[in-house]
Point group: C2
Chain length 233, copies 2
């Protein structure tokens, strides 16, 4: 029984994991204001979720609250940072230095939040050798050499869709095990690699759907006022 009660086994639901960063941000804000403790209700309001959900989510981390009082902000911050793996920096490589890659490389928030951009790579000879935000753009062929220097765990793909899969494969071969994909394509990666995707067009299309519904139902209501028979169903 070498592992005893180590909470490593406690499995945190995926839905909870996606909310932890929100809580973290709220906690940082509260800590900045010098508040020593915070209630689940207040934290819920700041994070835009239900208070019961907050309590249940936090309970997965452990019993870090005090009944009648709330959560100690500093302590909870520490525990959450530890759980999220934010106690040290994670170096990031960005592939594809086009419009988006350029903006990402310039985004100061990455470094501030513990994700320093360690390298930029591309395949286009016209951008290789240039610098963005003080970081030189190198050829993607050099990825293994770059990764060999310092540990790079996270890769961001900002290439065109056509190149994304190959870039992902090469990143993984170079030791990257977490990928954030901005290219509008489905990547296939081994099970032990984490993959998240952000697709701007998809987000807009989802918004479009609900927008369409609203305006369509307006139109229907208008038509229904003229025509006698309203939609059944």
């Amino acid at each position: 029984m070498a592992n005893g009660g180590k909470r490593q086994a406690r499995k945190i639901p995926e839905a909870t994991v996606t909310r932890l960063p929100l809580y973290l941000r709220s906690l940082l804000e509260v800590a900045n204001d010098g508040m020593p403790t915070i209630s689940s209700e207040r934290l819920a309001e700041m994070s835009g979720v239900n208070a019961a959900k907050v309590r249940k989510d936090l309970s997965y981390l452990g019993s870090y609250g005090t009944r009648g009082v709330g959560y100690d902000v500093e302590y909870l911050l520490f525990q959450m940072s530890r759980e999220l793996g934010l106690t040290h920096d994670w170096h990031v490589v960005i592939a594809g230095i086009g419009n988006l890659g350029h903006a990402l490389a310039n985004y100061a928030g990455f470094h501030e939040r513990g994700f320093p951009v360690a390298a930029l790579v591309d395949a286009d000879p016209r951008v290789i050798g240039t610098e963005v935000n003080g970081i030189p753009v190198r050829h993607i062929d050099e990825l293994p050499a770059i990764a060999a220097g310092r540990q790079i765990a996270i890769g961001i793909i900002a290439t065109p869709a056509s190149a994304a899969q190959e870039v992902a494969d090469r990143m993984i071969a170079a030791g990257v095990s977490s990928i954030l994909n901005f290219a509008p394509t489905i990547l296939s990666v081994p099970a032990e690699v984490s993959l998240r995707k952000v697709d701007l067009a998809v987000e807009l299309q989802i918004l479009s759907f609900y927008q369409q519904r609203r305006t369509a139902s307006d139109r229907v209501a208008q038509v229904a006022a003229e025509v006698a028979a309203p939609p059944a169903t």
Copy 2:
């Protein structure tokens, strides 16, 4: 019974809505290759989801498949585009022309997919009057006038977090009813406004969590081999 079987009332689950754009993209690809029909299995593979899920999702749109054959690509494309509200363009306004806003304004994908950027706004006098991708940056105070010209339904917020809520309020006041928020903050909007958010730092922190889990469990296994008595919760 003027409306007959009008499916307006059929409510499509949220989870399904988020997948429709993926199917759409796959269908466009297939249509480009000239394939007349596609099976749910193939569509599932291309979109990275389960085949049964594809069939169920598509069934919400109506019975557009043919048993033994599959789905008519062109017809399904048409129906899906209609459902997603993509039969006409949606004009978009981007607020905050910093790193990210700049990149978004330059992103050709928006226009290609039916979301032309109709206007750019900012509050910083240094960027107002400049042009990005041929579009002039105007002051956010002019938003009502800009929106009065052509119907602008969708707003993209790429401002710093501190300005995001006010920008959202002003967009809504100007008639925008769908917002895509890139600022790392929780926005509160009326119920009739659709809101989606993309937070780069949050995405990285989620990846960090799983990365941490992987490396931590490696380390635990290592430590457990050396130490006899582990910490008891």
